[in-house]
Symmetry: C2
Subunit: 138 residues, 2 copies
Amino acid sequence: MNIKEASQKTGVSSAAIRYYEKESLIPAIDRTEVGNRDIDERILRRIRFVTQMRNAGMSIESLRRYIELFDAQEDNTNEQKAILQEQLAVMEEKRDDLQAAIDHLNFKLAHFYDHMASTEAELRALEREHQDKLNDKM
Amino acid sequence: MNIKEASQKTGVSSAAIRYYEKESLIPAIDRTEVGNRDIDERILRRIRFVTQMRNAGMSIESLRRYIELFDAQEDNTNEQKAILQEQLAVMEEKRDDLQAAIDHLNFKLAHFYDHMASTEAELRALEREHQDKLNDKM
DNA sequence: CTAAACCTTCATGTGTACTTCAAGGCAAGA
DNA sequence: TCTTGCCTTGAAGTACACATGAAGGTTTAG
């Protein structure tokens, strides 16, 4: 398929796909006789994977290093493992921050109509309790 | 406390704290007679909250809108609720993407020494299985 | 009284991750 | 043949989130 179709299927712009290829986040894409990209399912999966990682907050640079390790058949293996573990720790912290923020929002929404009905002072007291449990945020 | 101490306590640069104030992510900070910022615990909590949301991947703009709703005593309440719910949905998707990425990494690490011992072909087969279960990533 | 170590505002610079533009090639339909 | 619609590369532009620098003010130590 051509790049436009790949763009439509993945929701990633053509320009971004070219960019990802240039930055080696996806493998080099085969070309037709005239030089146009011919994208297959394998590339589509890679694009979706990159999108997922990007949405999760991973930088292009980290992703490139990660994918390099992934594809490498070399053997600085212990160093590789250390890098993967480091990346994992970063992502877990990010997820936990996100979860705390989600809890925060859910609390707000759960008490939303309370909020509409009650005074600011009452709500602040309620929230203070919540925050004390949640250990000091905002 | 002065801005430098606040910076040290929160791990957020002085410049970033000034920026957050300007962008209304934290309340207007009291000044001393000579015009220096005098930061209290309430502000510190706000800074930490902003940091957490930023780490979780929330943009400055989204955060500002969120905090506005938070602090408002006005009453476009149903619209407000809709916005909070929207924000929540975005964050949950982000968290799920992150979790998928973490699963991916954990799989890699769990099979890391397998990888060292086994051939590429064997590992790819193993991973294909894993991916099939995880429903089509990379 | 002068230097160090804070602070202020305002302006400009920087890195990331793209997006957009310019200039041109190829293939199909009117 | 010419317009439409796709594609190519390379360069330049853009948005966000700060970082850095300039020019100057105040307090504290020597």
